[in-house]
C-alpha cells in the first residue's frame, strides 16, 4: 500500500479510529492492532512475503530471549551469528543473488573462460533492507547488553512490522522504538496536529516535488545523448530533488503518522542540501542508515581509534557497503566510493566535524562563503547522483562525458518553468524552516486563517500536480 494512494487514505482513518478506541491502557490490544494493520499494509503489496517478516521476527525474538538467558560469551556469539546469517542470508538471496551470479559469470568471461550458472527470477520483497537492519539492531543491542530482551512477542512483531516505517524507514533502533511498545500511549492534541502537518509536508514533497522532477529526470536520463551539457546538468538537478523529495517525503509521512499513534521516530533528514561540506551532508542525509552503519559497522571495525589510516579504511568500507546496501548494481558501489573520495580531503585535513551547527543560524541569507560552500557541496553530490540514477556504469560515464563539454554553457533545451518554480518555492520554504525538525514545523506563528490557507495551498498544489500514483524510490532498496 502506498502512502499516496486512495487505499491508504481509507486504511489510515480506520486504524487510527480503532487504535484510540481501544485506548492506551489496553496496550496488548493496541500492539496487536498495529501488528495486524502492518501485516495488512504489507500484504496489500504481496501477502506471500509476510512469511519472511514473520520468520525474521520469530528468529530474532527467540535469539533475543536466548541471549538474555545465556551468559557464556562463546554461545552468545554463536546466537548473534545465527541472527546475522539468517537476516543477511535472506537479504543476500533476494537482493544480491543474481548480481553475484552475473558478476561471477562476467569475471570468468573477462578471463577467457566460460561459466554457466543460471540466474533466478527473484522478486525483491519491498523494504527487506529496512526491516532486516531494524531486527538486526535488536539482536546486536541485546548481545551488547544495551537492551533487555523483550518477552512480549506481539509487541516485538509490531516493532518489526510497524507500518509507517516498514518499507522505507527510517530504520529504527530497537533501543528507541521497542520500549515505546511497552508503555502507555496517550493521545496528545499538539503531537497529533504536528504529525498531520508533517504528513502534509511529506506528501507535498513526494507528489509535487519528487514526482514532477522525476518526469524530467527520466526524460533527460533516458535520452541523454540527445541533450547538451546544460540540459544534462538540469537532469541531474531534477534527480537530486526527485530523490530528496521522494525519500525525505516518505520519512516525513512515516514520522508524522507515527506521531498520530503516539510514537516518536528518529529524524531521518535534516535539510541536507544546505550542507557546507560533504561530512555535514552525511550527517543530514538518511541519518538512520548513516548512524546504523556508524554504530554497527564503523565502531566495531575500530572507528577512528586506530589513527588516520584506519579512519580512512573504515570510512571507505562504510561508504562502499552503504552504496551496496542501496542496490545490487556497480553504479551504487561507485556512488558510495565517490562519496568516500569526497570525504577524504576533510579526513586528511581533520575538518570533517567543522560544520556541525545550522548554516546562517538566525539569518535570512547565508554569507557569500556559506553560499559558495553549499553550492559546491550540492554540485559534487549532483555528480554522485548521476551514478545513483544511471542504469549502468557505462550510462553514468556517458552522461557525465556528454555533460562536461562546452555545451555545459549553452542554452538549456528542456526548461519546465512551472516545475522549476515549484522547486524554488520548496527550497525557499525549506530554507526558512531549516531550524525546525521539518520545514513547516514552526508555522504556528501564523494566525490560524493564514496557516490554514497555507495548508490549503499545499493541498491545491498537490491535486494540481499529481499524476499517476508513483511508487517511492526507496521501496526497491
Amino acid at each position: 500500500m502506498l502512502f499516496n494512494s486512495l487505499e491508504f487514505f481509507i486504511f489510515l482513518p480506520i486504524v487510527f479510529g480503532l487504535y484510540w478506541l481501544i485506548g492506551g491502557k489496553r496496550l496488548k490490544a493496541q500492539n496487536l492492532l498495529i501488528a495486524i494493520a502492518s501485516y495488512v499494509f504489507y500484504g496489500w503489496w504481496d501477502w506471500r512475503f509476510l512469511s519472511l517478516i514473520l520468520f525474521s521476527s520469530l528468529v530474532d525474538y527467540s535469539i533475543g530471549l536466548a541471549l538474555g538467558k545465556n551468559e557464556k560469551q562463546s554461545q552468545r556469539k554463536i546466537l548473534l551469528w545465527i541472527s546475522i546469517c539468517v537476516n543477511l542470508g535472506f537479504l543476500g538471496f533476494f537482493k544480491y543473488y543474481n548480481f553475484f551470479v552475473d558478476s561471477l559469470v562476467d569475471s570468468f568471461t573477462f578471463f577467457g573462460s566460460e561459466l554457466s550458472i543460471n540466474t533466478l527470477n527473484i522478486v525483491l520483497p519491498v523494504g527487506i533492507s529496512f526491516y532486516t537492519f531494524q531486527t538486526l539492531s535488536y539482536t546486536i543491542d541485546v548481545y551488547n547488553k544495551k537492551l533487555q530482551p523483550t518477552k512480549d512477542f506481539v509487541g516485538f512483531m509490531a516493532f518489526v512490522s510497524f507500518f509507517p516505517q516498514l518499507v522505507a524507514g527510517p530504520i529504527e533502533r530497537a533501543t528507541n522504538l521497542l520500549p515505546q511498545f511497552a508503555i502507555e500511549r496517550k493521545f496528545d492534541y499538539r503531537n497529533a496536529v504536528d504529525g498531520l502537518r508533517q504528513v502534509l509536508w511529506g506528501l507535498f514533497k513526494k507528489i509535487v516535488i519528487a514526482d514532477n522532477c522525476a518526469k524530467y529526470a527520466n526524460i533527460i536520463f533516458n535520452n541523454h545523448t540527445e541533450y547538451n551539457g546544460s540540459t544534462l546538468l538540469l537532469g541531474a538537478f531534477f534527480f537530486a530533488f526527485q530523490i530528496y523529495g521522494d525519500f525525505s517525503g516518505y520519512s516525513d509521512i512515516a514520522i508524522g503518522i507515527s506521531r498520530l499513534f503516539g510514537f516518536n521516530l528518529k529524524r531521518n533528514f535534516a535539510f541536507p542540501y544546505f550542507s557546507r561540506d560533504i561530512a555535514e551532508f552525511w550527517r543530514r542525509w538518511h541519518i538512520s542508515l548513516s548512524t546504523w552503519f556508524r554504530d554497527y559497522l564503523y565502531i566495531p571495525l575500530g572507528g577512528s581509534k586506530g589513527g588516520l589510516k584506519m579512519k580512512i579504511r573504515n570510512t571507505f568500507i562504510i561508504f562502499l557497503v552503504s552504496g551496496f546496501w542501496h542496490g545490487a548494481n556497480w553504479t551504487f558501489v561507485i556512488w558510495g566510493a565517490l562519496n568516500a573520495l569526497y570525504f577524504l580531503p576533510l579526513l586528511l585535513a581533520k575538518k570533517n566535524r567543522v560544520n556541525t551547527n545550522l548554516v546562517a543560524e538566525g539569518k535570512y541569507f547565508p554569507s557569500l562563503k556559506e553560499f559558495g560552500q553549499m553550492a559546491f557541496t550540492f554540485f559534487i553530490t549532483l555528480i554522485a547522483w548521476v551514478f545513483f540514477r544511471a542504469d549502468s556504469v557505462a550510462h553514468a560515464f556517458s552522461y557525465l562525458q556528454n555533460m562536461f563539454t562546452t555545451s555545459l554553457f549553452s542554452e538549456i533545451e528542456v526548461f519546465p518553468v512551472t516545475i522549476l518554480s515549484l522547486v524554488l518555492f520548496f527550497i525557499a520554504t525549506e530554507w526558512l524552516g531549516r531550524s525546525g525538525e521539518y520545514a513547516i514545523e514552526k508555522v504556528d506563528f501564523m494566525k490560524k486563517p493564514i496557516r490554514w490557507a497555507f495548508y490549503m495551498l499545499l493541498i491545491v498544489l498537490m491535486f494540481s500536480f499529481t499524476g499517476e500514483e508513483q511508487q517511492f524510490i526507496y521501496f526497491q532498496f
Binding site: 486512495l6 484510540w20 492534541y189 496536529v193 490554514w452 490549503m456 493541498i459 491535486f463 494540481s464 499529481t466
Partner: protein, 312 residues
C-alpha cells in the same frame, strides 16, 4: 481527540469549498452537458448548452437539435456525420470537428454532426433513421470494432446503450444510467474531479482488469462472426443502407470490414499508419490534426466517387 476531530472536519469543509472554487476557476475538469432521451428512445443532449473543456482552453457547444457542434448553414446537399465520442469531440474546438474539415474540403456540400459518446452501430443506425427526414445525400457512420460488439445484447449486454436483441430481433433502447447521481456529480465539480482523477476501479486488481479488457482480437471476431452477420442482416432489412457509409477507424479488424462489405455497405477505412500523432498522449481520441487527416481521407474518397450516391 474531540478537538482534533472538530478541526479536521472544519478543515475539510473549508477545503471542499476552496476546492470547488479552484476546480471551477481553473476548469480542472471538463463541464459535462446534460442528457435526455427523446421521443424515439435516442439519448442526446439538452439543446443549446455550452461549457468548457478541461483546462478551459476551448468551449464546447450543443446545438438546438441536441447534438454537439454547429449546425450547417443550409440542409441542401447534406451529408450526416454520425458516431460516438470521436464525433461528439468535446476535446477539440468546433473548428476541429469533422464537419468543419469536410466542409473545407467539399465546399458544395453541407455537413451535420450527430455524435454522442457510447453510441453503438445499431444506435447510429437509429439516429440516422430519425435524421433521414432532413433528406441527406449520405450518412457517414464512424465505427470501430467495439461498436459492433456493443450493438448486440447477446455479445455485450449494456443497459445504457441501444442494442439489438438478435434472438428476438428487437431493439432494446438504452436507459439513462444513474441520472440523479450524474446530475449531482456533474454539478459538484470537485467531486467529479476526484471521481475522474482517482477512479474507484483502481482498487480492483489490475490483472483482472487486463484480462477483462481483451477485445478486438481476430479470435474474438471469429467467435462472434455469426452474431455480427445477424446484426448486419438485421440492419439491411430494417434500415436503408444504400446512402450509408461506414467509416472504419484505423486498425479496425479486417474480418469485420469484410462482413460489412459482403453485406453491401459502402466502406471507407481510415489509415493512420506511420503517423502516431492522430491521437492525444493520454487519450485515444483524435487531436485536431487527427481529425483533419481523417477528413482528408474521407473527402478524397467521397470526391473520387463520381456520384456520391453510388461510390464504390
Amino acid at each position: 481527540m474531540k478537538k482534533l476531530l472538530i478541526n479536521i472536519i472544519l478543515f475539510f469543509l473549508i477545503a471542499i469549498v476552496v476546492g470547488e472554487v479552484v476546480v471551477r476557476l481553473t476548469h480542472a475538469i471538463a463541464d459535462i452537458p446534460q442528457r435526455t432521451i427523446d421521443d424515439h428512445g435516442i439519448q442526446k443532449y439538452f439543446p443549446n448548452q455550452d461549457g468548457y473543456w478541461k483546462g478551459g482552453e476551448h468551449k464546447w457547444t450543443v446545438n438546438k437539435l441536441g447534438w454537439p457542434g454547429e449546425l450547417p448553414e443550409s440542409n441542401d446537399n447534406l451529408i450526416m456525420v454520425i458516431g460516438d465520442s470521436f464525433i461528439e469531440n468535446f476535446m477539440n474546438p468546433n473548428e476541429c470537428h469533422q464537419s468543419a474539415f469536410l466542409k473545407a474540403n467539399m465546399k458544395d456540400y453541407n455537413f451535420m454532426e450527430a455524435g454522442r459518446s457510447g453510441v453503438s452501430l445499431i444506435e447510429a443506425m437509429e439516429i440516422s433513421k430519425q435524421l433521414d427526414s432532413l433528406k441527406p445525400k449520405q450518412s457517414l457512420i464512424y465505427v470501430n470494432d467495439e461498436d459492433f460488439y456493443e450493438s448486440i445484447v447477446q455479445v455485450k449486454s449494456m443497459k445504457d446503450i441501444t442494442q439489438l436483441d438478435i434472438k428476438n430481433k428487437t431493439i432494446r433502447y438504452g436507459e439513462m444510467k444513474a441520472p440523479g447521481l450524474k446530475k449531482v456529480l456533474y454539478s459538484w465539480k470537485l467531486m467529479y474531479y476526484f471521481y475522474n482523477r482517482f477512479p474507484l476501479d483502481n482498487l480492483i486488481n489490475t490483472n483482472s482488469k487486463q484480462e477483462a479488457a481483451t477485445t478486438n482480437s481476430e479470435a474474438e471476431v471469429k467467435s462472434y462472426s455469426t452474431e455480427i452477420n445477424q446484426l448486419t442482416e438485421y440492419i439491411k432489412q430494417n434500415y436503408t443502407i444504400s446512402d450509408k457509409t461506414l467509416v472504419f477507424h484505423p486498425n479496425s479488424e479486417q474480418s469485420i470490414i469484410n462482413i460489412c462489405k459482403d453485406a453491401g455497405f459502402k466502406i471507407i477505412v481510415l489509415d493512420s499508419s506511420n503517423d502516431d500523432t492522430w491521437t492525444f498522449d493520454h487519450d485515444p481520441h483524435w487531436t485536431c490534426y487527427g481529425h483533419k487527416k481523417a477528413a482528408e481521407q474521407i473527402s478524397k474518397d467521397l470526391l473520387n466517387s463520381a456520384n456520391l450516391g453510388a461510390f464504390r
